[in-house]
Subunit: 229 residues, 2 copies
Amino acid sequence: MIKAIIFDLDNTLVDFMLLKRAAVDAAIYAMIDAGLNVSYEKAKEMINSIYDAEGIEYQQVFDRMLKEILGRVDYKVMSAGIVSYRKAREAALKPYPLVLPTLIELMKMGLKLAVVSDAPSKEAWLRLSYINFQHFFDVVITYDETRERKPSPVPFNMALKELDLRADECLMIGDWAERDMVGAKSVGMKTVFARYGDTFNTVNPESDYDINSVSEIVDIVKKENKIKN
Amino acid sequence: MIKAIIFDLDNTLVDFMLLKRAAVDAAIYAMIDAGLNVSYEKAKEMINSIYDAEGIEYQQVFDRMLKEILGRVDYKVMSAGIVSYRKAREAALKPYPLVLPTLIELMKMGLKLAVVSDAPSKEAWLRLSYINFQHFFDVVITYDETRERKPSPVPFNMALKELDLRADECLMIGDWAERDMVGAKSVGMKTVFARYGDTFNTVNPESDYDINSVSEIVDIVKKENKIKN
């Protein structure tokens, strides 16, 4: 009997790569507009390599780029970049289609909802709050709670403990096969691969289910729980 | 002959107290909504006393308040506060009425424009960028450039040097008599008191001019430069 759905956050509930690309592009154009003498391509390459080195949540990416280009932080340029980044991020930060009605449907079916994310607490909660999702989840586990990343069993087991459920009572849904599917399966959960969020063109995610829209979870739960439509 | 107008930023170009109040109020309501067990009045009092101790630009004000109330940072609560703070700040961050047409008119008259602000560089430039003012000013002096606050003559003299003008060729406009008027006068500038931004109910600002709308600067310049209407 499935009693809870556990979601990955980025690229499962929200299209994180889209918002990051939109925000970074807007920031680059604004910094060039504010007087930075660099090509779009060069700036994009520098920013991507800083994110590769420091992680995608790194907050000082523009400071770092400006120091590399100018030898100092030009606050006019950086602020133009930050403001455009924030505006574009807010505009692009949306749940995938049908996420909200699906969460509501799952709640009405009596299921608990949880998030297990490798993002830092503050950034994960900021994203949830921006889309007004901060009240939907019974349990939210982020990197700061465990200091272990998926596929480690630690965050999954912490979610189970806080949900007060067994692994076979939970469905894990995520876009990253090696982290979300492998980790959830290792503790005994059933797994749902969010193909719509997959950016690696994964051929075989080795999940129990493979979905193209988050709304398919409802039917999966009905099937698992032998509920007739 | 007046050749440049030097503006204070907060409460002269933008209504900073309004935006701060709007942003903090929105944040408090959001944190209570996210589960923080505190009254609006108590939260407001704690936030004001943190700002009094650390300065109005202090960025960790919600972290600090949550640590005082809960003994730890609750990221769900803090993120709800930050998101609401940012949205309300962006909505409330506007130039005063007639600032934009006045800046354009002054530029068309051939005047240079400058800002001398005690705010930190990043925050000053962020506010200018949010309202799309980042291109209007020939010179922007913030606290980071001089590490001296008005009424020290240092930031005023730096502005003069970068403008390449003498003090008697500049008009300083600001809302804070003891800082903006006293400091500008001490280096020999003519002064304009922005009464519309004054929150102290100053009786005698000891300025050369006293205005209720920023648009009055145009006539002051015409009078000073003996231009007929």
